[in-house]
Amino acid sequence: MKNFFVTGDPMIYASDVLIVLVLVGIIFTLTYFKKWGWLWREWLTTVDHKKIAIMYLICAILMLFRGGVDAELMRTQLAVPNNHLLSAEHYDQIFTTHGTIMILFMAMPILFAMFNAAVPLQIGARDVAFPYLNAVSFWLFFFGALLFNISFVIGGSPDAGWTSYPPLTELQFDPGPGENYYLLAVQISGFGSIATGINFMATILKMRAPGMTLMKMPLFCWSVLASCIVILFAFPALTGALLLLTLDRVVGTHFFTMLAGGNPMQFINLFWIWGHPEVYIVVLPAFGIYSEVVSTFSSKRVFGYKSMVFSLMAIAVVGYLTWVHHFFTMGAGADVNAFFAISTMCVGIPTGVKVFNWLLTMFRGRIRLNLPMLWTLGFIPNFALAGATGVMLAAAPGDYQYHNSYFLVAHFHQALIGGVVYGMLAGMYYWWPKLFGFVLDERLGKWAFWFFNIGFYVCFMPQYELGFMGMTRRMYTYPANMGWTTLNFISTIGAYLMGIGFLFIGAQIVYSIFRGQRDLTGDPWNGRTLEWSLPSPPPAYNFAQIPHVQERDEWWRIKQAGLADAYRKVNLNELEPIHMPKNSGIPFLMGVSFFVGGFGLVFGWTVVAIIGFAGVFLCLLARSLQEKTDYHIPVSEVQQTEISLGRA
């Protein structure tokens, strides 16, 4: 118990104070305004996909802040040589939490925010296939993220990199709760991700409105389907790898130790069977968002729809066959490396098809430079560079030079920021009015874009060069005579510019909550797909009547035919009771139970762990014995809602 709270570092003490102040502030506000019941009824127990989307989005933005602070600390540490702002150990912890948070607790939830915000609305459904499971997914993610985030004040953060390779992560080399936090937090949120993959796959395959064949589906839905296929087949490999490493640490097995017949490289193999497809899990939906945005803001249907669908699916399958390029230097042999080098380069082909399709969609279109389009345009040169450097890294002999250098660091940041973060921000700006009923302020958003975009290049271009000059990733400081000082300093300036960009986004959200332009039409961007035929935000049941779809850009067709106003009117006499899922507190309680069980395992407190997992079992049991999980909204209530929305 002596080392339960992390001590000794003034920055940690400052964080302790801030955490306590924020908690007190939240509790006081909720009590003072008597909002506890509201919080429980409207949010903690909700199974509504739109509310779950909002909760994912809020968490993702908070995690972007946390991961961003980690990044700024790292860049500050590296700005000048021989710096001792952070100790080596503290630096290790920070790059570990930065990577883990950005991929698993920022990229994944913002992705799921977009899934939840758009997919049911785009396919004309009233919710996802399994709304209760959707809530379970969210709360598993939430409590997994919470478990990971408390590590830096309670017990100490993991410090072996986001990849957590053994043998370093075995108990004998890395004692203490840090790595356990990583293993259990990622495991718990991973369960939620698998469930989300199943959920949206079922939603897209089973819940489409009549008339919407697969080939009439919006491209974003196709990209979600591709992403979910990869989630379903890739995440179990991570579950297995983490479980085996947890057994090594907690029970004393020898799966990944050098002694007693284990093999640490097997963890690396399993990790990347998940880890590389994970890149496609996060980037494919971004591609889907770009397709929606490019088409909407060029006022043209997307160029080459069928080739877009084909390339999404091709990337999903071929992207699964490339994982060894993360460990070419393991030395599996020329035949293995050659196969995976070629398969990696092959992914560039369908990706290239998509880039040309986006460009040709814009060709002779009437382009409007709103924020979603701005981020999309920023993405294209970014991703071209990420692709080019990716093919360089894919050449196995060359990779022996670049491996684990700053060249690699620059490459994957270019792919993940330029590809995923830009895409998710484009999606956030695009669907924000649909979720919240107001548009985010353009002027502040443009400041944010330019700070972030320029900052990005200033930050990461020097890192390619530093990689060539021999600087390796994860080093916490460097001597003055290496010739790295200037480039590192420039890179740090870029990181600060990106940080300012993020602050502008925060300011933009706060400003727009009070002053943002309200979206009264439900169609602020002159959109093309079904979500824009609904009011913003849509009622709980989304569609009073399930639409019958005729064409690919159905809402655009309706508008072109001059039928939009008639389409928005609901015939009150034709309404039927709407079948909806009931809210449930069990997913939240199951998340709490997982948190308690995970926390117990982190510290090896068997009793706490047993109590937690018994709670999980009780939640499962309670749900199994529930008779009434759904209800019908009566016609009169639907009529009232539609009248109040001005649609009758």
Binding site: F233, N269, Y320, H579, D630
Partner: protein, 113 residues
Amino acid sequence: MANSAVSQSTNLEPQFHEEAFPWKHIIGYVLSLVLTGAALWCALGYHLRGSALIVTILAMAVLQIVVQLFLFMHLTESDGTRAHVWTICLGFFFTFVVVAGTIWIMSFGSQVA
């Protein structure tokens, strides 16, 4: 999909027929435990070595898949759509890739050892 949010048809009854006693599940559960235990016994007790061990474990893994698909997932009980066929084929493909790929990639270790 009795629990789904919005069944678009009015028929909310489950689409598969129900057995009086879940024999299939119990047999499947026992079989999957036996298969897993046997694989563990082979590897842990050094009862087989080298390629004989790998072939035996692979055979048991294939049986395990058969058990899962037929006794738990009711593969034969309803007329699937084309999407079902596609996803099952993809599943087999990815399983093959992971297992065969891993054996191929990691067999370099035997040269080192």
